[in-house]
């Protein structure tokens, strides 16, 4: 009984931590540019797939991970520079379609390079699973949670303690004013996309041993990240983390106690219920509409 519940909880928190990282990536880009980046999931895919194929070529895993994350960062910069920046005047929907085009493009490239097969990635460490009250906690889950926690702390420090982080925050609050005090906002936007891509690809690497990885893994993970970000309230960092964990746990509980066929349906119903009572998500800022 208890062991069952704990097992579902562990599964939920592990996948929830991944969702939280993806949601944080959404939040970052949303804050900096008010774009919802539908190509966010592709950063995860790039992270996981590049690591797998590099280790397959004999590159040691830590180096492979660093290279994979850097590659995703480059894609983040390219995305902002060549797809988002030229379309400044575009509508919200048009920007969404542009990022969807980008995700189809990146997925197409991945399919060319790596094919359509699923790839298996070994766990980071060979430690025995930990048993708590009869529930099993996989060592890779600990990696996911640990890396997630470190990244969240690093992000907080980045935004509160570094000049670049503060510049991103300033740009998100008021682009005009930021430019007036000498912040190069184009550069800042590029940075936001890069950091978001780094976050996404790290999430993709740590979760790959659990979910496996393939060229199209980014579609569903990206969507779940968007759901998590919306539950928490777009633009809120705390919201992204809480939304991600909540989504993961609810999904795992539904799959365990109700039906795994309907676990996604519950996730999507949850967002409807949350938005029904809180139209701006759990932690969304109250915005006064200017007329």
């Amino acid at each position: 009984m208890l062991s069952e519940f704990l097992q579902y909880l562990f599964t939920g928190i592990t996948i929830g931590a991944t969702y939280a990282l993806i949601a944080l990536g959404f939040t970052l880009i949303y804050n900096a540019s008010h774009v919802i980046n539908f190509a966010q999931g592709e950063f995860l895919m790039i992270g996981g797939m590049t690591t797998v194929s590099l280790t397959g070529m004999g590159v040691p895993m830590p180096l492979a991970i660093v290279l994979a994350v850097l590659l995703a960062g480059v894609f983040g910069i390219l995305l902002q520079r060549f797809a988002i920046a030229p379309a400044k005047q575009a509508d919200v929907v048009t920007l969404i379609i542009i990022t969807i085009g980008a995700s189809i493009f990146i997925r197409g490239l991945a399919q060319l390079v790596w094919g359509k097969e699923y790839h298996v990635m070994p766990n980071f460490s060979r430690d025995e699973p930990i048993r708590i009250f009869g529930a099993v906690l996989n060592s890779q889950s600990l990696w996911v949670l640990g890396v997630g926690a470190v990244l969240v702390v690093a992000l907080v420090l980045f935004f509160t303690r570094t000049l670049i982080g503060k510049a991103i925050l300033a740009t998100s609050m008021n682009k005009q004013a930021a430019r007036l005090v000498g912040i190069r906002t184009q550069l800042v936007l590029m940075l936001a996309f890069m950091v978001s891509a780094l976050l996404g690809s790290i999430a993709g690497v740590v979760v790959a041993p659990i979910t496996f990885t393939s060229y199209d893994i980014g579609i569903m993970l990206g969507l779940k990240g968007f759901v998590a970000a919306a539950i928490g309230g777009l633009g809120s960092g705390v919201g992204a983390v809480v939304g991600g964990l909540l989504l993961g746990v609810v999904e795992a509980m539904t799959a365990g106690y109700v039906s795994s066929d309907y676990k996604d349906a519950v996730a999507f119903s949850m967002i409807l219920v949350v938005l029904f009572f809180m139209p701006r998500g759990l932690f969304g800022a109250k915005v006064v509409e200017r007329v």
């Binding site: 949303y30 919802i36 797809a83 030229p86 379309a87 005047q89 575009a90 509508d91 919200v92 929907v93 048009t94 969404i96 379609i97 542009i98 969807i100 085009g101 980008a102 995700s103 189809i104 493009f105 990146i106 997925r107 197409g108 490239l109 399919q111 060319l112 969507l223 968007f226 759901v227 919306a230 777009l234 066929d261 309907y262 996604d264 349906a265 999507f268 119903s269 967002i271 409807l272 938005l275 029904f276 139209p279 701006r280 998500g281 509409e289 007329v291």
Partner: protein
Amino acid sequence: MLNRFMQSRLRGLMVLAVILFSLPVFLSNPFHYELATQMAIIAGTVVGLNLLVGFAGQISLGHAGFFGLGAYFTGIMTGHYGWSAIPALVVGAILVGLIAWIVGRPILRLKGHYLSMATLAVGFIIAIIINNERQLTGGPDGMPVPVFDVFGWELSPFGTYSLFGIELNGSEAWYLFAAAVLLVAVWLAQNLIDSPIGRALRSVHGSEVAARVVGVNTARYKSLVFVISAVYASVMGGLYAHFQGFITPAVASFDFSIVLITMVVLGGMGSTMGVILGAVVLKLLPQILTHFQEMEAVMFGLILMLTMIFMPKGLLPTLQMAVSKRLKRRAGGQQ
């Protein structure tokens, strides 16, 4: 002024009719007809979606859900319960309209990305239900749908018919039927756009607060147009099911929702003829790109991105602007 306005509206419809009914000259085999019929049905769906996106300015990322509901309702009623096609389509449309109304009231209060999220969620829930209720829908394997019939008269892609003394095979007859349905769909949409409701919707698009200040009941109009666009999708979904003779949950999928909204944005939001062009282009593009084989997805993504970056207003409005600019320049040169 009003007279000229009416004329221009009718002119658009006439041009569309001429294109639709002269197209068979260029169609040489059943595959072409199949593609053209699918285009006409999907174009009808997109014309309805455009009322919501292009005129009222509300984004839906879940419209395939309503298309799929319409398709499966007709499929189930005619297949399992022996209904005739027309009552199945009508009752399906009423039910889908009702569902859209119930769901629409709360979610249309949401703005921007939250509304996209909510419509995406509704679409996903519908798709998941269709995927999992195997007894009714056949699950992921799909289900066969009986031939379309009107009071005992059947329209099958494999039959032969005669119209005004001309012999038609089934796929030709289906194309003409779908083209006629599309014309009616466009005519209805244009009437709606030019009615007081249409003006109210455009005011919502312009500024919702301003619209409310001048006394427009914005909530009511938004849910009205949401319902109308869902009914469009439901009817077209039902026709699609009968035409294909077999449906899978793909008709309700998130991917298809994205295809629909992309057709609207690519063709030109707010332009009825534009979104039809969007449907045609997006349906044709994969056919052309199959020559690139493995490069297909790469090319598709690239073309989509580039078009939207360089023509953010969509294909038809951008073309129209270019043409009118050139005409103006020529007129200026003659003076």
